[in-house]
Amino acid sequence: MPEWDDREILEGIKIPGKEEVAFNQLLQKYQERLYWHIRKIVIGHDDTDDVLQNTMIKVWKSLPSFRADSGLFTWLYRIATNEALTFLKQKKKRALAPWVDVEHKISETLESDPWFNGDEIQLKLQQAILKLPDKQRIVFNMKYFDEVKYEDMSVILETSVGALKASYHHAVKKIEAMLGDD
């Protein structure tokens, strides 16, 4: 499948009658990367599908007014991250009791999730990651699994590089400690 150039996609969006084709090219290029980014935040496949759809609808609506000050990739990641965090907040609000730990519930359902293919150590790692605060978890996932540069992460998460490095360092220490306790 051809990898479309961001500039071509953005130009296509502005041409009347070509918007849908250009948007389809954007989807082909980024849907899978955004899916995995969201999946690592919300964990469940169905939830990820909902968040990805909401993200892409927002992208579709906002594309005509998108100014290419920041790259398309960072803009898409920012929308996806915000949508995933909003989804988690709503899920916490919908919890029947305030003391219900949503992350703990997600962690429990991970074992019976038909779309979780990991082994025992991968399960423990995911359960440890779920115990991190939301934003620290995102930083850890982006660096550890996707190897996103701190500079790009800084634009996506609107946080300084120094703060991101510190956050990742703390996350690694916590996860090591949690895995060491098991």
Partner: protein
């Protein structure tokens, strides 16, 4: 020692692989499903807006009619004569009526008692004048 082992494990390449899977053909069908949802959203948007607008207009009209009715009623009620003592507070109106009756009777009693007193004085004066006239006493002496 155990901690060091965990550090090595965390840096192991096998751990960095995504442990999640997706249903078959998910990514192939995603674009089609999304574009269908976008079309449905844009198609259902107009009637929903119209419904909301119509409902808002109806509520606003009902509120306006109710407001006009309330204002009219208040004007009629509070600007009509004797509005304060009739209708709204029947007990107070009754008390005021009784008070008025009491005041009238008190005045009548007062006036009648005063007239009786005056009549007695007049009778006494006329008797005195008759007596003085009979006994030929000069009137000037009386006022000295």
């Amino acid at each position: 020692m155990k901690k060091e082992q965990n550090i090595v494990n965390l840096q192991h390449e096998s751990l960095k692989k995504h442990p999640f899977g997706v249903p078959d053909g998910y990514f192939e069908s995603f674009s089609e499903r999304l574009q269908k949802r976008i079309r449905e959203d844009s198609a259902s948007k107009v009637p929903v807006r119209r419904m909301v607008t119509t409902a808002r207009i109806r509520v606003a009209m009902a509120a306006a009619v109710l407001g006009v009715a309330l204002i009219s009623y208040s004007i009629i009620r509070f600007t009509a004569p004797n509005s304060g003592s009739s209708g709204f507070y029947p007990d107070i109106a009754l008390l005021e009526q009784l008070q008025m009756i009491d005041d009238d009777s008190y005045l009548m009693e007062l006036m009648s008692s005063r007239s009786e007193a005056l009549n007695e004085e007049e009778a006494f004066a006329s008797q005195a004048i008759e007596y003085l006239a009979i006994n030929d006493v000069e009137m000037d002496l009386l006022f000295e």
